[in-house]
């Protein structure tokens, strides 16, 4: 369980960093100074968790590929050096550098620098994903673009919502400014996740019959059901809770979004298992 659990923590921490920086850069350009400082401090905390979990993930990956326990890795120094040069481990190291950069310098980002960093953080999530299943298909280019779009859309959507619900709730005026802007971004992200997901299935799965006949297919069906549920929740947000926010009532939004985040966590968990299922 060590590998999927550390990968899940790594994914969630990376998503949180992307969401925090995206919201700081795009949705909260007129945010108040206390909220800006709070989000900067939280970004650094998540970035350290991202870096730490990436380091643990690299150790578990080495253990998995070499075929030995974590405690025995030092006894197989030659194998560790050999496996460290593989695409998979190098990609994880690239993510580690990005996470460390945010942890060390994330608090100093503001304005256009944060905007630029938001783009780079999204790229930090990509290397590991693009060295997996997507690279080993008849159409690797299409599969990689689809998967990249899928990841970036999901990261902004989940991370942005996490920021609003968990970290910005203490600043109601800023939430009122951010919610309509984030709502528009979330709609675009949901569409991107759905379209890129269908494209990835079409390219990476051996026929539509494999959707029910294989383990990968069944996990994809589970993710699709979760996406439909999340889209329904998003529709409910746009109908009910976002208009309520404009009148000053945040509580319905926070409650529904908390439930939505629960579903998102489960979906990321399924995605982690999908990524390690042949």
């Amino acid at each position: 369980m060590g590998l999927p659990v550390t990968q899940f923590v790594h994914e969630m921490a990376g998503v949180a960093v992307v969401g925090l920086i995206f919201l700081r850069a795009v949705s909260l350009s007129r945010v108040t100074e206390p909220a800006r400082a709070h989000l900067a401090a939280i970004t650094v905390r998540w970035a350290w968790l991202w870096a730490g979990s990436t380091l643990a993930w690299i150790a578990f990956t080495l253990s998995d590929v070499i075929g030995t326990g974590l405690g025995d890795l030092l006894g197989h120094a030659d194998a560790v050096v050999a496996v460290s040069g593989t695409d998979r481990v190098l990609a994880e190291c690239a993510t580690l550098w990005v996470a460390l950069a945010v942890a060390l310098f994330g608090a100093r980002l503001s304005g256009s620098a944060a905007m630029s960093a938001a783009g780079h953080q999204r790229r930090g999530l990509l290397p590991s994903a693009l060295t997996g299943h997507a690279g080993y298909h008849p159409s690797p280019g299409v599969a990689m673009v689809a998967l990249g779009l899928h990841l970036v859309g999901a990261a902004i959507w989940i991370g942005g919502l996490l920021t609003l619900v968990a970290h910005l709730r203490g600043f109601p005026d800023d939430v009122r400014v951010a919610v309509p802007r984030f709502s528009a971004a979330a709609l675009v992200c949901a569409l991107a996740v759905g379209v890129s997901g269908v494209l990835a299935i079409a390219v990476m799965l051996d026929g539509w019959a494999a959707l029910l006949g294989t383990d990968r297919g069944q996990l994809i069906v589970a993710k699709t059901v979760a996406l439909v549920l999340l889209a329904s929740v998003g529709y409910w947000h746009r109908r009910r809770t976002v208009p309520a926010v404009r009148t000053g009532c945040l509580r319905p939004l926070l409650r529904l979004a908390a439930g939505e985040l629960l579903l998102m966590g489960a979906t990321v968990g399924i995605a982690v298992v999908l990524s390690i299922t042949a």
Partner: protein, 58 residues
Amino acid sequence: MVELAPRVERKAPVARAPGTVAVLAALFLAGLAAIVIARWWTGTRYHPCAVGIARSVR
């Protein structure tokens, strides 16, 4: 009869939104539960590999 105190309208209690710690804990627990269930469903639990780099190096 004289009313001494202002009448207070009884309102229906409004449910509180979950706090930050509760949201984060639920998020991680949901993910871990999904991992356990998905691995059980697909039978992709960990199997020690029969051959591996560690064994070929030694």
